[in-house]
């Protein structure tokens, strides 16, 4: 009880002291203002880039595995990969029959072709051949029409669903459903439009796509192309289990001898993440350290001003002690004063960082300032305040009352 009332009184006293020395307190805390601004901006940028990254790989699906000929981010020499064989439909059927830990899977393959509608044409459209299960694996919705059925899929019907880029380019004012487009040299009837999916890592548009039944694909574009097996894990929290299972089934299907390495790639969203983290991790650490350095410089400034302030107020300390202030009371008075100055700096820093982060967000990079950054910034300022104030406050606390009363 006594402890809290003492802190309360000291807050009032510190407020008084800061208030009657506004300009100096403000100048003293400038370093902290700059430090907190820098640290906060750094964190909002990191946070923003992280969020943008997560968004940009969302289409990959956190619970989807992709069995392919190669790993996405292989690290071995080319000689390690060069003898690998394509994945086949027999292997797919074997996998599909034996997997217990996946809900649904679909094989797929693709080419790029020019797509035409009347006299309009689009080059380099990605044509994906897959089965009716693909929508469920991928998890996208249709904004118009529907996805193809098992009958259309198995029968290799000349139907297709298109991405929004294509519907925007060809059917600005008309209904695309039922229209026929030319993919390469072959006609396909549009039965649906997929909702906008954005792009992968901002590079590869997922909306510039046409999806057709795999059977049809084999017929018109050939069946020698490598396949991808798209597998949806049964439990999103246990993707690793599915991954292991798929690995063993695939090794069996491809007759990989015991003890030798996989001859296929088993890919997942996580591969993007770990690659992203290994690329950006060091940058983040260094950035945080450099901006953190400005806080340390700032707190040295505070310590400096606090030493001057304590020296100047030697007589005040003497008077307070003569009237019954204990050492701990004086210590906490000056600690609270320096913490309040730093908190003020932190607060101003946040007020500056917030609009700047909005400007950066609008013109340069995505940023995000969640509450935890605000709380952390204020907490850090408080800590630096305590740190910077400790030695000055300690000097004040151990002053001799008679000597300090005599001080002029």
């Amino acid at each position: 009880m006594k402890f809290f009332s003492e802190i309360k009184e000291n807050i009032a006293i510190s407020y008084q002291a800061i208030n009657s020395n506004k300009l100096r307190s403000l100048l003293a805390t400038l370093g902290i203002v700059i430090g907190i601004t820098a640290v906060t901006l750094m964190q909002t940028a990191i946070e923003g880039i992280n969020l943008a990254f997560e968004k940009s790989i969302a289409a990959v699906g956190a619970d989807v595995l992709y069995v392919q000929k190669f790993e996405w981010f292989g690290t071995e020499d080319w000689s390690f990969y060069k003898n690998r064989k394509e994945l086949t439909m027999e292997q797919y059927d074997f996998l599909n029959k034996n997997s217990q830990t996946s809900t649904v899977m679909a094989p797929s393959t693709g080419v790029t072709r020019t797509v035409k509608f009347k006299d309009l044409s689009l080059q380099n459209v990605f044509v994906l051949g897959t089965t009716f299960e693909y929508q469920e694996v991928s998890g996208f919705n249709m904004i118009e029409g529907r996805y193809f059925t098992q009958r259309e899929s198995d029968g290799g019907y000349p139907v297709c669903v298109i991405g929004t880029d294509i519907s925007d380019a060809f059917f600005e004012n008309t209904d695309p459903i039922g229209k026929t487009i030319k993919v390469g040299n072959y006609n396909f009837r549009i039965i649906g439009v997929i909702e906008k999916q954005g792009s992968l890592l901002g590079l590869f548009s997922l909306d510039n796509r046409i999806i057709i039944p795999l059977e049809r694909f084999f017929n018109v574009f050939g069946d020698k192309r490598g396949l991808t097996f798209n597998i949806k894990a049964a439990d999103i929290n246990n993707v690793d289990e599915t991954k292991e299972e798929v690995r063993w089934i695939m090794r069996k299907a491809r007759k990989v001898p015991y003890g030798s390495a996989d001859d296929f790639g088993l890919n997942a969203q996580e591969a993007f993440k770990s690659t992203y983290e290994s690329l950006t991790g060091l940058i983040k650490v260094i950035g945080t350290m450099i901006t953190g350095l400005s806080l340390i410089v700032g707190s040295i400034g505070i310590a400096n001003i606090m030493f001057v302030s304590v020296k100047e107020r030697t007589k005040e300390v003497g008077i307070r002690k003569a009237l019954g202030a204990r050492r701990s009371t004086i210590l906490s008075q000056f600690l609270i004063e320096s913490s309040m100055i730093c908190l003020m700096g932190g607060f101003i820093g946040l007020l500056i960082a917030f609009p700047i982060s909005l400007i950066i967000d609008a013109f340069v990079l995505p940023t995000a300032m969640p509450l935890w950054i605000v709380v952390l910034a204020l907490f850090i300022s408080l800590m630096f305040g305590l740190l910077a104030g400790f030695f000055p406050a300690y000097t004040a606390a151990k002053m001799d009352p008679v000597d300090s009363l005599r001080y002029e």
Partner: protein, 244 residues
């Protein structure tokens, strides 16, 4: 009855580089409850040093000091702070008010350090200021007050926690004669209410307000006698005892 203040062979040594200086060379002194004492002596004789020791602001280099029967030599820093806060009211020659806060807040200070609540503090500080006749100056800062008014604020501050012992080191030293006399009336009043009062002064007239005069020279007590007033009072109490 046990004396309020018991000082036995107290010495205070100051060391400055190679030079050693005894500000007090062995002072022994008893002061009872409700005494009114003036300490006199030439400049540098050790009056302030003695006052600081009595007021628990300083500790003796050797010798013994008991306040209210408790040995001050053995006390920790925090205990001394508590005694300064609760038992002792200090009045200084240079007032020693905090310049940035008003009279009321200055008087509140000792109450803050004894942990009183805000409401109670305001009430006590106000009545202390009213007692010294400053009811219309409570919100003035020290630099908006005259010397006499500042010393009244300082006295209100010394009294606000109701201490039994009032120590005043040249309380009138910075005041003109008339203002000084007004301050002395306040002390007289305090004494009649039962407080023990010790003042340091250079001026004979001021010292004559006290009942006992102690003269210090070169860090030693040179004289210790009753003033005219003190003799009168002693006479009166004697007569009272006889007539009873």
């Amino acid at each position: 009855m046990e004396p309020l203040i018991e000082i036995k062979d107290v010495k205070k040594l100051y060391v400055m580089g190679l030079e050693e200086l005894y500000a007090l060379k062995g002072v022994s002194l008893d002061i009872n409850n409700n005494e009114y004492v003036a300490i006199m002596g030439p400049s540098g004789s050790g009056k302030s040093t003695l006052m600081n020791i009595i007021g628990c602001l300083d500790t003796p280099s050797s010798g013994e000091y008991k306040l209210n029967g408790k040995n001050v030599n053995e006390m920790e820093d925090d205990e001394l702070a508590e005694i300064r806060n609760k038992e002792i009211g200090f009045v200084f020659q240079t007032f020693n008010l905090l310049p940035r806060i008003n009279a009321l807040s200055n008087v509140e200070l000792p109450l803050i350090y004894s942990g009183k609540k805000k409401d109670e503090r305001i009430e006590l500080a106000e009545s202390a200021l009213i007692n010294v006749g400053l009811e219309d100056r409570m919100n003035h800062k020290p630099n908006e007050l005259s010397g006499g008014q500042r010393q009244r604020v300082a006295i209100a501050r010394a009294l606000v926690n109701n201490p039994s012992l009032i120590l005043a080191d040249e309380p009138t030293g910075n005041l003109d004669t008339k203002t000084g006399e007004e301050i002395m009336i306040l002390f007289e009043d305090l004494w009649s209410k039962g407080n023990t009062i010790i003042i340091v002064t250079h001026e004979e007239e001021i010292a004559q307000n006290a009942h006992r005069i102690i003269k210090i020279r070169d860090g030693l007590i040179a004289d210790d006698y009753l003033s005219e007033k003190g003799k009168l009072i002693a006479e009166k109490t004697k007569q009272q005892t006889i007539s009873v």
